[in-house]
């Protein structure tokens, strides 16, 4: 067993033991902490001097028959997947910590923790897979647990409906994705699913995919991954899902699982179909402005904190797309860093929203106010989280967004192209997110407290533990982005791609 195999299989095995009767919370917490420790261990042992994409590689061949493609259970890490593995592990620990204790769960607490582990384990597996098949398969592992979590343990009267919406959206997205992936694999010879081999085939001019076919493949991958990542106009499922899901699921989904779509674009779509990416660049630019500007304004209009957070998470995906559209090292590095930063900050915000609801029973701005007076700790932490999400310097989000914006201009030679204009418009998104975050902060923590609102106890420090874990990660990367940038740069050096435009 290699290190990564243990990291991937541990949450799944823990889920199995919970199903067979192990104490749910303890097992979930134990396994996720071990996963986090092992991921940190992997990060510390990452060898920068070694060339080549993947490290800690392991591979077990699963199909061995004439005429059948090679599929193997292969894991490995490069800088990008390492960053996302760290993100998943941190958020998973926080999500398990935030989950209610067994006796506080209405219904089967076993199913609750088991689903949580499957969602987290699926994300980890997807990020660590170096085989296209398992990259796809592990992501799908989260589908049914999400359905059950939202439908069974979700909030609000519409939860079953929301569970259906999410499941249908995501399953359609993954089916489109499947066809796109199969087209890419078949166009590249159809005999292997190993990502590194496929990328090498795609790079060589003899075996690369014909330009026209690349456009189709990139389009399907963009739609497929786009649905998973709530790219405009496929964003309909995201905000209701996050507001109706239990808090830990919202944290994992908005923070981690959604990043899979962007990860796939960087890992699969760009290297396999660079010409397709170039051909569809302008489409991507329009769609990402839809995310940033249109959905940004939708976010401003929200009247409930959880809905607002849901939309804000959808909106921020636009920046990641902008980094990808820039297509240069700077932009991509920013995009990857933003995946991490956004994942942590949105998980943090959802965790805090959960505490607010737990204490005050509502998340509607109109019914909240003046909380800072009797819950100063909560206010302080929420303030940090809101500033981080709005992209204030000192938080990881700032370091990432600045990279993305510079990336947009890195290749401009004198004149402004589509990309540069898009970047200029997208900059206004920063203002928009400052508007809604600050408004939310003001209306929840300052101003007059509504008469009906009973004052409740502040956040106790033990309960703040998951929040602090997330905040520490956010601030340390914010002050020393090099912590993660060193890994990301190493990976981007490994596979560089055609610069669009």
């Amino acid at each position: 067993m290699s290190l990564i195999e243990i990291i991937v299989l541990l949450p799944l095995l823990a889920a199995l033991t919970i199903a067979l009767g192990a104490p749910a919370r303890l097992t979930a917490l134990g396994s996720s902490v071990v996963v986090l420790v092992l991921s940190l261990f992997a990060a510390l042992n990452f060898r920068f001097q070694v060339e080549g994409a993947f490290q800690f590689e392991s591979s077990r061949s699963l199909i061995d028959a004439a005429g059948m493609p090679e599929i193997s259970l292969a894991f490995g890490l490069d800088g990008i997947s390492l960053v996302l593995l760290l993100l998943s592990a941190i958020v998973l620990v926080a999500a398990v910590l935030v989950s209610p204790r067994e006796n506080a769960i209405v219904g089967s607490s076993r199913l609750y923790y088991l689903s949580l582990l499957l969602i987290g384990g699926g994300a980890i597996g997807a990020f660590c897979s170096t085989d296209l098949f398992f990259l796809y398969a592990f992501h799908e592992l989260a589908l049914i647990p999400t359905f059950l979590m939202i439908g069974l343990f979700g909030r609000g009267e519409n939860r079953v409906r929301t569970a259906w919406t999410v499941t249908i959206y995501l399953s359609i997205g993954s089916l489109v994705l499947l066809v796109g992936l199969l087209m890419a694999v078949v166009a590249l010879g159809g005999s292997t699913f190993a990502i590194a081999d496929l990328a090498a085939l795609a790079r060589s001019p003899e075996t690369g995919i014909a330009a026209e076919r690349q456009t189709w493949i990139f389009f399907l991958l963009l739609v497929g991954f786009g649905i998973l990542v709530s790219l405009f106009p496929f964003h309909g499922w995201a905000a209701p899902a996050y507001s109706d899901a239990p808090i830990p699921v919202a944290m994992l989904h908005a923070g981690v699982l959604k990043k899979f779509g962007v990860y796939g674009l960087i890992r699969i779509a760009l290297p396999f179909a660079p010409a397709g990416a170039e051909a569809l660049l302008n489409l991507v630019l329009v769609l990402l402005l839809g995310n940033i500007i249109y959905l940004g304004l939708v976010t401003v209009a929200q009247k409930r904190l959880d809905r607002m957070l849901g939309y804000s998470s959808v909106m921020h995906m636009g920046y990641i797309f902008l980094g990808i559209a820039a297509g240069n090292k700077l932009g991509l590095a920013g995009a990857v860093l933003l995946m991490f930063a956004h994942g942590i900050s949105i998980a943090l915000l959802f965790a805090l929203a959960g505490s607010i609801r737990e204490r005050f029973g509502t998340l509607e701005f109109a019914k909240l106010g003046g909380l800072a007076a009797n819950a100063p700790r909560l206010g302080l932490l929420f303030g940090f989280a809101a500033f981080a999400a709005a992209g204030l310097p000192g938080f990881a989000n700032f370091a990432a967004e600045i990279n993305v914006f510079f990336g947009g201009f890195a290749d401009a030679e004198g004149s402004l192209g589509w990309l540069q204009w898009t970047t200029i418009i997208a900059l206004w998104g920063v203002v928009i997110s400052a508007v809604y975050m600050l408004r939310a902060y003001r209306s929840i923590f300052y101003g007059p407290a509504p008469a009906k609102l009973q004052s409740k106890a502040d956040l106790a420090w033990p309960a703040a533990l998951p929040v602090l874990i997330l905040l520490v990660a956010l601030i340390s990367v914010g002050f020393v982005p090099e912590l993660l940038n060193q890994y990301i740069r190493h990976a981007l050096d490994g596979f560089f791609l055609v610069t669009p435009g």
Binding site: A19, L62, I63, D64, A65, A66, G67, M68, P69, I71, L73, S108, L111, F133, Y136, A137, F138, E140, L141, L143, I144, F147, L148, G151, L152, V160, A163, W164, T167, I168, S171, I172, L175, V176, L178, V179, L182, M183, V185, V186, G189, G190, S191
Partner: protein, 494 residues
């Protein structure tokens, strides 16, 4: 041991069971079923130990394909299906007795139960022979052996109107399709002058072959075979017969009969597909059939409220995916390309695991809950979590969630279709698969997200027999194992 002993053993086992039923005084006739299960388990083990006869030229065994791993694989499917059908039949025997026991004084309490266990054995022998049939005569005879025994089994619950109605429908339509098959065979024989599939293939590939007549015979054969596998528009019998037939027989029909139908389909289509003059047209027809089957099967499944009917339409939908593989037969041999035969064989193996698992849960539920509506499963997770999770796994695999066997089936089908650039079929298949997510998860939603129905009466905490439970656990393990390690099934094909 020569491979054809297996069929003989199964027939002998069936005869033995009939004799026991007739001449041995048994208090509980389920003993007969247990004998059958034991015998089939032995036959299943023997499958791995058989050898092929030296030469079949001129001997009676010329009707029997030789050195054919695919045939052995399909024999395995037949045996396994029959084994699980017997488990279900034993579980449901009180219901069967209720509908069949003789009212005459002094009659055995379970009169009429013994044959219910013995008949599947003969069907099994027919299915096994069908897997090896390489000659129009042997195809026809084995097909009829299967069909005739199904006529009896479908209508077995003789005091149940639904079962009788199903039996009549199946009899009339089945007889009609047999007519088409024979007529098609006659044409094929007329064109090629041979009954042997190998010689037929050679004759169809010859330049002086009459394509119009060949296509006509193909159309006739297609009607008959499409009826057997439930392809649209020859699927109308499926929902009614599935719903009316006793649950174990429904499972038998939907797995055993379909698997055997597809291997016959493969063997009969192969000569046409490998003939240069016909391949294109035949592929077109198969593609149209696949598209229709996918659309109708999946979309009609959406509003179903009865679980058996849902499974019937799901069976049609799965036939659509299998036909999609058949319609994507490579016209030119390419390296590294999948072949429809392997894809279909894998798909059917996965289909066996997940469909039989669903039927096992259903027949267990049927002992307590009279209704077969999806609503009757409401809140099952609260009262019997084991059954609910088992059914959830079956549904997830049927829907094609990755890391289950069902996903690999669909995955190979789509890969094959992409390789052959069947874009239209791929789009239709996508719509179908997406619809599948909805109707399979609908069952899950009913079990997990809703509260038990007050009017369902009775306690949903259903007792599960030991053998049934073991069978369920083994199937679950197999579903996940094949979903991660497809070699488990593919290895059997080599």
């Amino acid at each position: 041991m020569p491979v054809y002993y297996l069929e003989i053993i199964v027939v002998a086992l069936g005869l033995l069971m009939l004799m026991i039923d007739a001449f041995v005084k048994l208090e509980d006739k389920r003993v007969i079923a247990w004998i059958g299960m034991l015998g089939l388990a032995v036959v299943f083990v023997l499958l791995f130990r058989v050898e092929w006869p030296e030469s079949t030229d001129g001997a009676f065994w010329q009707f029997y394909s030789s050195g054919d791993q695919m045939a052995l694989y399909f024999k395995g499917i037949a045996v396994l299906t029959t084994l699980i059908v017997l488990i279900m039949a034993a579980d449901l025997s009180p219901l069967v007795v209720e509908q069949t026991a003789s009212p005459a004084p002094g009659a055995h309490r379970q009169a009429g139960l013994g044959e219910f266990f013995a008949l599947p054995m003969f069907t099994c022998a027919g299915l096994m022979w069908m897997a090896s049939a390489n000659n129009l005569v042997s195809i026809f005879v084995s097909l009829e052996l299967v069909t005739v025994s199904f006529y009896i089994m479908v209508a077995y619950l003789r005091r149940n109107v639904g079962s009788l109605e199903a039996g009549v429908k199946y009899l009339i339509l089945g007889a009609l399709s047999t007519g088409f098959l024979v007529y098609g065979f006659a044409w094929l024989f007329g064109i090629t002058g041979s009954m042997d599939l190998g010689e037929i293939a050679a004759a169809l590939a010859a330049p002086d072959m009459n394509p119009t007549a060949a296509l006509f015979s193909f159309a006739l054969i297609l009607v008959a075979v499409a009826f057997k596998v439930g392809a649209v528009p020859f699927h109308f019998w499926i929902p009614d017969v599935y719903q009316g037939a006793p649950t174990p027989i429904t499972a038998f029909l939907s797995v055993g009969s379909k698997a055997a139908g597809f291997i016959v389909f493969l063997r009969l289509a192969q000569p046409f597909l490998s003939s240069g003059a016909l391949a294109e047209k035949v592929t077109l027809v198969l593609g149209a059939l696949a598209a229709l089957t996918l659309i109708v099967g999946n979309l009609t499944a959406l509003p179903q409220k009865n679980f058996k009917r849902l499974l019937a339409y799901s069976g049609i939908a799965h036939s659509g995916f299998l036909l999609m593989a058949l319609a994507s037969a490579p016209t030119a041999a390419t390296a590294n390309a999948l072949t429809p035969a392997t894809v279909i064989a894998f798909y059917l193996g996965a289909y066996l695991l997940m469909t039989l698992l669903a039927f096992l849960v259903m027949s267990t539920m049927r002992q307590r809950v009279v209704s077969e509506d999806i609503d009757a499963y409401r809140g099952l997770f609260k009262s019997s979590p084991f059954l609910a999770v088992t059914l959830l796994i079956a549904m997830a695999s049927l829907a094609g969630i990755p890391l289950t066997a069902g996903f690999f089936g669909k995955f190979f089908v789509f890969k094959l279709a992409v390789e052959q650039e069947q874009w239209f079929l791929i789009v239709v298949g996508l719509v179908g698969a997406a619809a599948g997510f909805y109707y399979y998860l609908k069952v899950a939603a009913s079990m997990f997200l809703e509260d038990p129905k007050a009017s369902a009466g009775g306690d949903l905490a259903v007792p599960i027999g030991a053998v049934t439970r073991i069978a369920m656990i083994l199937l679950i393990i197999a579903i996940f194992a094949a979903g991660v390690y497809p070699n488990l099934i593919l290895g059997l094909l080599r």
